[in-house]
Symmetry: D3
Subunit: 116 residues, 6 copies
């Protein structure tokens, strides 16, 4: 069964390829800077993915949440750890984050179902 998370992943992959065709050095460098920000450094890549997830939740971007949920699952976070991160985002960002919390919980369930 194709879920909305699968659809997001294929749309994202397809459009990132389209963006990569654009001959603009600034856009290309931004993409490279973005992926570099989550590599191991003084902080582990795993920790940085969690930072990216909470930033995405307080800024209320569902596509960014889905991407970082998938990365956090790959990085080995447990549900309990991710719920704890969701809670920080909820308290910092307030009830306006609740629709994105519902989205994040559903995305996490879908991501777990994929990997079972």
């Amino acid at each position: 069964m194709t879920t909305r998370l699968d659809e997001f992943e294929s749309y994202r992959a397809r459009m990132n390829l389209r963006v990569a065709e654009i001959d603009h050095i600034g856009i290309k460098r931004f993409y490279s800077l973005d992926s570099g920000a989550y590599h191991d450094g003084a902080l582990s890549g795993k920790t940085k993915e969690l930072l990216g997830l909470v930033a995405s939740m307080v800024l209320r971007c569902n596509d960014c949440i889905d991407y970082h949920i998938l990365q956090c699952v790959k990085a080995g976070y447990s549900d309990k750890e991710l719920y704890d991160a969701f809670n920080v985002a909820l308290v910092v960002g307030g009830s306006i984050v609740i629709p994105h919390l519902r989205h994040a919980v559903e995305s996490l369930d879908l991501a777990r179902a994929k990997t079972e």
Copy 2:
């Protein structure tokens, strides 16, 4: 010498006392929920402080940044680790975060100077 970080801390302490005088159960519970969000749980309190710092930077709140910088210094983060977190915030939030990056770097320097 009294720095702007000292002034922030004393203003914050004084006004939190003033807010605590307000007889409103919702506001009191929010404060309690807020401090609870950074206690050890599935994630360590130390990790959650870093989540709070990055959330504050992408939401561009200097007072919140100052509070979390002080907490992160107490929690034992090195400068290199905090710079790595600053970088995640900068890439997620963009150049509009730069004035807050300057503020955060200055606050970190002031916080280190205090504890030396």
Copy 3:
């Protein structure tokens, strides 16, 4: 006929049940604080729903708008009163609110059609 407002309500109900299964005291308390914020107090619950609606519009969250539209209709606001609140949100938040104004007007029409 099932409208997008009905779909929102059933998705919201289903996911709130899913979130309620999560064993996290912070998230549970936040939900309780959130519903408490709209109870009668020094201000009436009815007035607070209108505050919630305008806050949702300026923060540009369609799901939050739909929820508060439904609550405001239940609380007995007339269309003219709600349009007046929409106008405050539009002036405070600017033309970036216009897509959410269109959404709010449509949601209000759907909510009225349900209760006829």
Copy 4:
């Protein structure tokens, strides 16, 4: 004694005069639309001031908060009513609103001291 609220009022008055010198029909019309949004209509001007206050708090604009606090005090709101509105803003907007809650409480205290 001149307070920061007095300074804000005199800066605001001086700069609004300066802006009024600008010969731009769009800016002039926006100012007129803005003041019109808080006149009595289907909702009372008093209710709309409270909507403006909560919108300003969740959008985290201290100058806007100060302006609407002064208007709400003139409109006759009690402290208890304003604390109830602060609470809605806090729950909707989250802990990132706390520095603005501190500011709002202080501004309200200063506004009351002026009128005593």
Copy 5:
């Protein structure tokens, strides 16, 4: 073939007609102020459309992006010029803008396909 851009245009047109039926002088004046903001003045209407596009991207509003993409195509901007504007939005707004960049690139491709 009907694309999502066509669907947006017909939804927007239909709901703007519905909003126009609302007898509220503030809302009517806001709409008029909004369209006036993009007329030729000290700056050309063409330049202002680009300002509107970048503002929509950093504020992360897909409907606003689609509207301004269509206007910018009508105004005669080349793809290369629009990519350069996308890049400013991306750098100012950060990686949280990336999903909206993907959306904007797709909308531009759809708009070009319509006019061929």
Copy 6:
């Protein structure tokens, strides 16, 4: 006489030097990407400065506004052109932008006074 614009410029210069001492490749690359975004390309650097100014106004960042006002003055924009750009920002961003409009008008006056 030293104005707040002079103080901003010297603080900005001093802290950018401090940030430049930080040995973090991501932060260094972001700074380089940021300055590159305003170089001549398919759009002129002059046009891009105006895009940066309007983005800063709708995102409500006074330091960013001051920086771009100075750049726009250097780039040769007239007051009338800048007022027209301010108006786009005001209409897109709403009355919450008004305090930043006052700031921008004052900064522009200070910038003109410097160069006379």
